[in-house]
């Protein structure tokens, strides 16, 4: 295996007496699309945030492209990592174009209109959207802008924390597929946190299941569907499988 782009070495995060992450070791290979799946409170979101230091581990270290993130200045680190999250967080006082250009702007770089247009095209939005304000957009359009903003600074790593959780199913499906395509075209490494096993199985090429701060399963989607990964993982896989079976029955 080549050098991993992201490594967790003995990472723990404690809040008082609760351990959100419990002595976790993990390597993530460059170019992979990894899904972190688990119930609420399993520690998946906390683990993701230790990468761009929105959360600092209590002990252990996180290496990004070989460097310990604890030794990097937060703003510079975060500008190198794309971040998409459930509440989207578009700046309501900035236009779509200004929102997209914010990362480079922080590094005193101006994005030309052509680059904005390109980023909008990546997320299947019209160029004319550039001048709109966020409150003029639908929820799906907003998260598309959120993805474009995350990609504006040409990051190697894209972190997504429940990115499609608040979207309607149709938009959710379309944007999921779009992001997977961008991942492939741009040669990104993507880590996506989700509680939806179906989404993880359909988009990722490696699925990690977390429970009580530990990784309890680490499988490719096909292996999970074949029954591997243990009890907790299989309980999560059972939900979409059961739904699919019910739907198949109904259609007969």
């Amino acid at each position: 295996m080549p050098d991993p782009i992201l490594s967790f070495r003995g990472v723990s995060k404690a809040y008082g007496t609760t351990r959100a992450i419990d002595t976790l070791d993990l390597d993530i290979e460059a170019g992979s699309f990894v899904a972190l799946v688990g119930a609420s409170g399993s520690g998946k979101s906390t683990l993701l945030k230790t990468v761009n230091r929105l959360v600092e581990p209590t002990i252990g270290e996180v290496l990004f492209e070989g460097e310990n993130v604890a030794g990097l200045p937060q703003p510079a680190l975060r500008r190198r990592i794309g971040y998409v999250f459930q509440s989207i967080g578009l700046f309501p006082h900035m236009s779509v174009a200004e929102n997209i250009a914010i990362g480079p702007r922080l590094g005193a770089e101006r994005l030309p209109a052509s680059r904005i247009a390109e980023l909008l095209a990546w997320v299947e939005l019209e160029e004319s959207m550039a001048d709109r304000m966020p409150d003029e957009l639908s929820g799906g359009q907003r998260q598309r802008v959120g993805v474009a903003r995350a990609l504006a600074a040409e990051p190697h790593l894209l972190l997504m924390d429940e990115p499609f959780g608040a979207l309607d199913p149709v938009t959710r499906d379309a944007l999921g597929e779009r992001v997977r395509k961008l991942h492939d075209e741009l040669g990104l490494t993507t880590v996506m946190v989700t509680h939806d096993m179906a989404e993880a199985l359909l988009l990722a090429d490696r699925v990690l299941v977390m429970d009580a701060g530990r990784i309890v399963a680490d499988e490719v989607p096909a292996a999970l569907l074949a029954g591997n990964g243990g009890e907790i993982a299989q309980a999560l896989v059972a939900v979409p499988r059961h739904q699919a079976e019910r739907l198949a029955e109904l259609s007969q």
């Binding site: 929105l54 680190l77 975060r78 999250f85 989207i88 700046f91 006082h93 990362g103």
Partner: protein, 512 residues
């Protein structure tokens, strides 16, 4: 109606001073509140502590807050030296700025607390540092709410600034307090209209800025800023554009008619001699005396008995000349104030009852009064029942009244006529004693001290030969009849004279 227009037209100076005071207080409030709000947004403890402090300040009545800064600044002189002003602009500025703090701080803190947490997470997630997050996200999103707080603060400050008159700062309160003193409602109305108009205007302009921020319309908020800046600039020019302030003689007056008239009499004399003058009206007794000692007031009229009991804390009651001589040497040794001389009349405290009541019930002296006091209500000005003279008289005669009520000096006489008070602590030079047919009760035990009107000069002013010789003709020139007539001319209900007119009348009667 014409009178009202004239009164409004004459308020230019007060309006400019009022605008500057309010703007400066608001600016200071903003400068303190905004960094505090940023700090509070990063620390729950700071947020709680600063909001609790600002709310506490708000519970102090504005008048008391203004008054409190006099002793505070006086004690701070130990640190900042004798040059620290204790009256006028500085204490007014500080008190009003404290008052302006709460609405600005509360809105800023609330705006920060209510920012969408998703937006804050995004600001951190895209890699903003502390300053970028503040300037690019938090400040623009909080701006309309902060502006709404500034707007509230502006309206409060402009209203409360009228009270700055009482600590010797020129403001639109001047005509209100002067008018209240003499029941000149046109003057009161003019002051109210001017300050309310100013508050409305400020509210409109700041409202435009707020809307500009909210709707992200640059032209609107920029226009609002320019209009506010022009207004403050015009006030600055009106206040400081013409000539220097340093050479002006500052004439002090306490808050009753006689003092206003005497201040104008002094002012008119000095202006005739080529001095530029400025008035500090409506000062409290203790404030006026300290102001003369510190040189913030150059000249004012006080009364021997007041100095004797309030400043010198004496309880004995020596003969008139002994008292005067002791006061002159006490002032020289302790405050540096120069007592230029007596004006020639006395304005003593005395108990006044309607003449017919005095006849019917046979009350002619304070001894007679003491016998019936438990059935009576006594009225006094707001200072009266706190003064050592009252305590001396009360104890000398064993006075026990059924009820004790405070009135402003003007309303006190009305209260006596309407029966809300049966006896009042009146002033013997008051024109209303004759006009209202009142009887001053005799003081056989000599409990009330003498109250000869005396002309006092600040240490600095007393070294000014030209000033002293311009004022000397006033010594022994005014008898009590002339003073009563001038007082009544401004106090009566009909055909009131202005203070300036009454001062001219007084000068004529006194042969000056």
């Amino acid at each position: 109606m014409n009178g009202l227009w004239d009164a409004l037209a004459g308020l230019g100076d007060q309006l400019a001073a009022h605008v500057l005071l309010s703007a400066a207080a608001l600016a200071l409030g903003i400068v303190v509140a905004l960094p505090l709000a940023v700090w509070a947004s990063r620390s729950e403890r700071v947020a709680r502590a600063s909001l609790a402090f600002a709310s506490l300040v708000q519970t102090i009545p504005a008048l008391a807050l203004l008054a409190l800064f006099f002793p505070i600044l006086l004690s701070l002189r130990a640190v900042f030296g004798e040059g620290l002003p204790t009256l006028g602009f500085l204490p007014a500025l500080l008190a009003l700025a404290l008052y302006a703090l709460l609405p600005i701080l509360r809105n800023a803190v609330t705006a920060q607390a209510n920012l969408d947490p998703g937006v804050i997470e995004a600001a951190e997630g895209v890699g903003m540092n502390f300053r970028q997050r503040l300037m690019l996200v938090e400040a623009p999103l909080a701006a309309p709410y902060i502006m709404a707080g500034i707007r509230t603060a502006a309206v409060w400050t402009i209203g409360a600034a009228t009270l700055a008159t009482t600590i010797g700062q020129k403001s639109l309160g001047d005509p209100i307090f002067a008018g209240l003193q003499t029941q000149n409602w046109v003057l009161v109305l003019a002051g109210c209209i001017a300050s309310a108009g100013l508050a409305l205007l400020a509210d409109t302009l700041l409202g435009a800025i707020e809307r500009g921020f909210r709707e992200r319309r640059r032209g609107l908020w920029l226009g609002g800023f320019v209009a506010v800046a022009l207004g403050v600039g015009a006030a600055l020019f009106a206040q400081f554009g013409g000539g220097d302030d340093e050479d002006r003689v500052v004439i002090g007056a306490k808050g009753f008619s006689e003092q206003y008239v005497l201040a104008r009499l002094i002012g008119q004399r000095l202006e005739a001699e080529g001095f530029a003058v400025e008035y500090r009206d409506g000062l409290g007794s203790a404030v006026a005396h300290s102001a003369a000692a510190s040189g913030e007031v150059d000249v004012y009229v006080d009364y021997t008995g007041t100095i004797w009991t309030n400043q010198m804390k004496r309880e004995d009651n020596p003969p008139r000349d002994t008292m005067y001589d002791e006061i002159v040497s006490w002032e020289t040794e302790n405050t540096g104030i120069r007592v230029l001389g007596r004006l020639g009349f006395e304005n003593a405290y005395g108990f006044a009852v309607p003449a017919d009541v005095s006849r019917m019930r046979g009350i002619e002296s304070i001894e007679d009064l003491a016998n019936v006091a438990p059935e009576l209500t006594v009225g006094g000005d707001p200072e009266f029942f706190e003064r050592p003279e009252w305590i001396a008289v009360r104890d000398a005669y064993g006075l026990r009244f059924a009820e004790q009520r405070n009135f402003s000096p003007t309303f006190m006489y009305n209260a006596l006529q309407s029966g809300e008070a049966d006896v009042i602590g009146a002033y013997t030079s008051d024109g209303r004693i004759e006009a209202d047919n009142l009887f001053i009760l005799a003081d056989p035990r000599g409990a009330f001290p003498n109250y000869d009107a005396v002309l006092l000069l600040s240490p600095e002013a007393s070294r000014d030969e030209a000033l002293v010789s311009a004022l000397l003709p006033l010594v022994d020139a005014i008898d009590v009849e002339a003073m009563r007539e001038a007082n009544y001319a401004v106090d009566r209900e009909e055909e009131k004279l202005s203070f300036d007119e009454a001062a001219r009348l007084l000068a004529e009667r006194a042969g000056l």
